[in-house]
Symmetry: C2
Subunit: 253 residues, 2 copies
């Protein structure tokens, strides 16, 4: 049995709490937050506290707090030589106070408050300063059904950056698709199967091999026509830049 | 029973042929291509020809050929007053020779040679010059299990343009994610569940509501850090432009 204390009450903290309580060989021994309000809903199932001095013994302390709060909170913890991890994609493992056995337990997924989340679809990127601590964090990730990967701070940083491209920026392209279609009274909904297919395709095929379309073909007639339809200057700039990027990737232009 | 003649031998033609042969109330009466070679594989199941003068009577003639070939091929057809449609997202319905009962049967999906395709995930955008022809084309789409939508040429053009954003450009963002991760020896595969989740999320949520991340939060520290990690100037330019686009959408900046 692995005992865990969760610190923080955001989306990651809440999803981890729910997953751990469902796992067979994990016990959430305590849930801390600087304000008890968001935890009150769970007070009949788990020991909650807003006082760091009341923290009980646990195998792993998970700091699921905002990036800026990680260093200070780790410093304030009134104990040492225990496994303390953060869950951030961009905070260095060494930002944790060095009195702890430091580590990272980074779930690479987009967390929203409402949606149900299957941790089988959430790879956990693990880093530890002390080698032996890796195994307990790996066991913790496997207990909630997640794939596990050892990832150092540099790799985690580029994964976090790449996630902005494939998640936030991709979502903004969906948004632009929404704006473009609505401007002519066409239905964005018609694009939804294509959006899903595009994401499914690269599960088995490299993005390089999956590419199609007028930019890759250098179909000048269609490229010109598309630019003439776009009347939003920002959309035009994005069209030009990404077309250029595709051509550079595929034709070395 | 609806009888159909397919003209062309590309991905769209082939996927439509397979879907029609499986449908209960559709018969492919003939398959034409200017060269018989790609059709030879099917010669035992369907009447194939490379001679327009040998075209037989059918209810609908589907020109699944390249955009540039549509007008000329429609002109060469040695009959008139029959339903003749093309399958292109960007060709105007009036580019078809006016001796025909003109229409468009545009499957809004990304077609690749190998992948199996379920037409339940392929919305068919239909346009007809003569109103009554709509019903037979709708019946044809429904016979292969596709959702159907009446879409005029202007709407179809913006759908085709929007498809470039949500398919080709999105795929290029996946490619950049691939490049960024590999540069540090991190695994692109770790991003695949996030990519799928991003596409799934907007099936029920508008892209506006689905947006998250440092650009939307205007998290200057992370934005600065990301730009410092990126050493490819093209990636930097795309990062800046899409960050600006997100901020304009969400914060009016």
């Amino acid at each position: 049995m692995i005992t865990v204390t969760i610190l923080g009450a955001g989306n990651v903290a809440t999803h981890l709490y729910k997953a751990f309580t469902k796992a067979n060989n994990v016990t959430v021994s305590q849930w801390y937050n600087r304000s008890l309000k968001p935890l009150n809903h769970y007070k009949n199932e788990v020991d909650i506290t807003d006082d760091l001095n009341h923290l009980k013994e646990a195998d792993v302390y998970i700091l699921a707090v905002s990036d800026d709060a990680v260093a200070e909170l780790s410093e304030k913890l009134p104990f040492e030589n225990k496994i303390v991890v953060h869950t951030s994609g961009s905070v260095n493992v060494h930002d944790l106070d060095k009195k702890h056995n430091r580590g990272v337990f980074y779930p690479l997924q987009s967390f929203s408050k409402t949606a149900q989340l299957d941790f089988a679809n959430v790879p956990i990127c693990i880093e530890t300063v002390n080698k032996p601590d890796y195994h307990i964090l790996k066991a913790l990730a496997l207990a909630i059904g997640s794939p596990v990967k050892k990832v150092n701070s540099d790799q985690r940083q580029v994964l976090h950056l790449a996630a902005v491209f494939v998640n936030n920026f991709t979502n903004q392209l969906y948004r632009i698709g929404h704006e473009i279609t609505e401007s002519e009274g066409a239905e964005f909904d018609l694009l939804k199967p294509l959006i899903l297919e595009t994401a499914k395709k690269i599960q088995d095929l490299s993005p390089y091999k999956a590419q199609t379309g007028p930019a890759k073909r250098n179909d000048k007639k269609t490229l010109k026509k598309h630019l003439s339809i776009l009347n939003n200057q920002d959309h035009k700039a994005i069209y030009n830049l990404l077309t250029k990027s595709i051509q550079k990737t595929h034709n070395g232009r």
